[in-house]
Amino acid sequence: MTLLQADNLNLSFGGLQVLHDISFSVDDGEIFAIIGPNGAGKTSILNCLGGFYLQDHGTIRLDGQDISSLSPDRRAAMGMARTFQNIALFRGMTVLDNIKLGAHSYLQTGLLAAAFYWGSAHREEMRLRAEIEDKIIDFLEIEHIRKQPVSALAYGLQKRVELARALAMRPRVLLMDEPVAGMNAEETEDMARFILDIQEEWGITIIIIEHDIHMVMDISNRVMVVNFGQEITTGTPESVQSHPEVIKAYLGTKQAVAAGNS
């Protein structure tokens, strides 16, 4: 079943065409990766999906509903979460506060109660906190740092907190912009495991942009390759890897791939 569908996305900044007729659909529960060289338009695609860029034309559907012109916060409320390439945590707040903010969008309380933190808002908050502590913090193994300010944490841990915050939104789709960029091998492996577990245990659909080609090929169900704002091919990791255009545009020569795999 298709959960997210993008049709003919076109985006340009001034005279520069960043995206050219990008179309793809992501199935419910799938890990869908978008790869391509620097400047290929990957992050632009993610920004269009999230509502940060408004495409010149083209439509985006979430669960059949046209969300093409909704604002980012409305899309978040509909179940779209996001992690960023440059970590976008709220500095000066603790890990727990950051995670709690993730639950902001689906807390159903009136404005007045929300403003004054009374009654049902308070109870909901308490219930939510317990739930978050039990599940997400446990799951991502960040129990030991939950009271710490995020700015004091190591890079890999900050990335994990950002992921926890996104999960606290209970998203249907999770957009991840380079989740393992700048991580060492061990951290990368941990993150790959978390992503697979999120898919498996939580049933969340994941759209991922990543430069670490081995990790992408390992965990993705399907991969879309873009270059110069255009789709080159989409398919299983195996079929994509052997696509001649991909080898030429992205992976370099055939020998280099063979060397990389050995």
């Binding site: 916060d73 978040a76 440059n86 945590l89 902001h104 403003a115 933190y117």
Partner: protein, 294 residues
């Protein structure tokens, strides 16, 4: 009676009121990164609203007080919605010029509506001075200080614990991340303007109650600049501390030095502090340094 103690006490009282007005700057700057040069005029409008309801319409003080807050919130939202929202993405200098222009417009409106005559409020508090041990303090100043501190405390609690307060802090921290958390960032901007205007207008009400109202009451707003620069433009705690430091220093300096300089020291000291702070600690005592990993 100890002259130092008297100067210190009135300095603290004035400082508390400065802190409230400084909050008017900080709330708006924190969320929107706009320095509102019309903060002083928001004060002035607040004072006039109170004057209108108490003197012209004969309302009791408490409902008039509520009307000041409602009117200020409305003014703040109107300014954000009709002017500053459309300035998004413009250079800082243009936005600053807009708020300076706005301050002139508000002053002009005040003259048209209320004339440039000096007005004063009906007495709100008992006239007899407050005696605290050795120190005697004017009742308007004392009660003004109390109201200012209660308001500042309420704002602090609101920001720390309420959901909207937390969402506003998040917006101040990272707009893109806030959007992706489902926070309506534009609504937060409007809210920040409303709250900033409320803080400023209550400050204006207190100042008006002490010294009367006239259209250029807002010029006191300029004196608050040293306070916010000292405390750091985006720090609520800094605004409070900055308010006290400036209030105390200007009172003590004025008290001791005025006899040698034909007066006026009080009005100069805050700006001397401003210049020194900008040279030594340009982000203030608690301000956020704008360093970003790219």
């Amino acid at each position: 009676m100890n002259i130092f103690l008297i100067l210190l006490t009135s300095g603290i009282a004035v400082g508390g009121i400065y802190a409230l007005i400084a909050l008017g700057f900080v709330l708006i700057y924190k969320a929107t990164s706009i320095i509102n040069f019309a903060t002083g005029e928001f004060m002035m409008i607040g004072a006039y609203i109170f004057y209108t309801f108490t003197v012209m319409l004969g309302w009791p003080a408490i409902p008039a007080f509520i009307m000041v807050m409602a009117g200020a919130a409305l003014l703040g939202m109107l300014v954000e919605f009709s002017i500053l929202r459309h300035m998004l993405g413009q250079p800082t200098i243009s936005i600053v010029m807009v708020t300076i222009g706005l301050s002139s417009i508000l002053t002009g409106f005040a003259e048209i509506i209320w004339s440039s005559d000096f007005k004063s409020f009906p007495p709100l508090f008992p006239r007899s001075p407050i005696i605290l041990g050795d120190v005697i303090i004017r009742s308007n100043l004392f009660w003004g200080f109390v109201v200012a501190m209660v308001t500042v405390a309420l704002f602090a609690v609101f920001f720390k614990y309420s959901k909207i307060g937390i969402a506003m802090r998040a917006t101040a921290g990272d707009q893109m991340a806030s959007y992706s958390m489902g926070i309506n960032v534009r609504t937060m901007f409007t809210t920040a303007w409303a709250l900033g205007a409320i803080a400023a207008s209550l400050g204006g009400l207190i100042i008006g109650n002490i010294g009367g109202v006239q259209p250029n009451l807002g010029s006191i707003g300029l004196k608050i600049f040293p306070v916010v620069i000292l405390g750091g433009l985006d720090s609520i705690g800094g605004a409070v501390l900055g308010g006290f430091i400036v209030g105390i220093l200007e009172n003590i300096a004025g008290g001791y030095l005025d006899p040698y300089f034909n007066g006026g020291v009080k009005d100069v000291v805050p700006f001397i502090i401003l210049v020194v702070i900008l040279m030594v600690k340009p982000y203030g005592l608690f301000g956020r340094r704008e360093i970003e990993r790219l």
